[in-house]
Subunit: 136 residues, 4 copies
């Protein structure tokens, strides 16, 4: 339905003393791709927060680490939305290195809350419209 | 079998512009509790790496975010090992705030590799002995 | 005038592929000690932000790295205020390991801004009172 | 002598509850530009570490924070080497937003150590050659 890719190099501070990217950073890479997708769709997260008064907190994440990424690698991180969100948004994600090898894959589930009351709200219509247009 | 708790305050830089702890940090908190547990068991991770030539990379993580932690909170992070590891080590983890409210919970699966060859190895006997002693 | 110390272990994710704590983390350790000091003085940073509508952004930092901290180290981080703040607050900071060896030292200069208008304001009287009491 | 620029967007997890990029991240941005420069010069840091057995730890950093960067900003980070390194390498650095506004500026001093003995060494000839070629 929506597929997005973001490419960037590993940052030195993301490595740990095992000599590879620390696992927590893949969770952050996932977010980078999701936010890049939002911006590409015309609804950057910071605009959603300020203008739609919507925050999109994460409800759960699962990630399987396949092959360590290393300093010098250029990573491609993907975010895929496969079905229209109702109360929840499901995003499939992968991280691959420059050789196309899968470093990590997972799924993130997000919710929608009002940024002032913090109460759960359904997926805002503006975002549904954008997804429908992207899917057409 | 083994239960460990670690307590520490939220750090300011761990918050994000939603005004709460960024979700990726719970993954890091999990690690803090696991490494605190290793140290408490008498086999600190850096000793395992240097003396046993074993690294314990993460294979997968799943985490459900229940209630946002905030600056000012003092968190208790737990790590529980419920069965003896063979090729894989399963750790159940939670993060609670000072009121005992569950902020996040999840499971981490770890493997064992030789720190020079990066080849998978079974759980080292020294670690099994420690777990058995802790369980007795 | 005010001296504060905070002690905590190095976290694994703070190390990098040089096998030591990544330099950027000392800047974060400095902040932990400053915020620990604020809490100990009775004016936690999150209370200042919410109740006094004051934010205390950093204006400049300088840090000299003396000896790398490592996984397994327990660090003591200090924050010292030596003169009453006017528009700016000067904090001297050090990081030492469990052997008392100096890992990093520096100075941080902070300002005061209104958390709604982001306009610079003088040091709030509540904070001056606290410092004077601490100094007495 | 050598001027390098790297451009990338702010990442959400780099913001804090003040609603702006946490100050420690500028120190990390500086590093990204330095390592980008090394790669552009043909001597990526991970190659220097593995093939030249040289690490380039940071000796000191100073940074002045001018204007907060925010989510949605695209930053340009610069690294400038103005004189040939002997025992120390001096790098001037800036971070600007998409409007050319200066967010942060500073100077980083680095040293050279043997990656096995950790003993200080002079700037490796391979790096001097590269700088001289870049300067020609």
């Amino acid at each position: 339905m929506v597929h997005f890719e973001l490419k960037f190099p590993v940052r030195y501070y993301e490595t740990d003393q095992m000599g590879v990217v620390h696992h927590s950073n893949y969770i952050r890479y996932f977010e980078c791709a999701r936010n890049g997708m939002m911006a590409a769709l015309g609804l950057p997260i910071e605009v959603a927060e300020k203008e739609l008064h919507i925050m999109i907190p994460i409800i759960s994440v699962e990630c399987r680490f396949r092959l360590p990424a290393r300093m010098g690698d250029t990573l491609t991180v993907t975010a895929d939305i496969e079905k229209m969100p109702l109360a929840k948004l499901y995003v499939k994600q992968t991280v691959r290195n420059q050789d196309g090898q899968l470093c990590a894959e997972g799924q993130v589930v997000l919710g929608f809350i009002n940024s002032e009351t913090f109460a759960p709200v359904p997926c805002p219509q503006a975002f549904l419209d954008i997804l429908q247009k992207a899917d057409a």
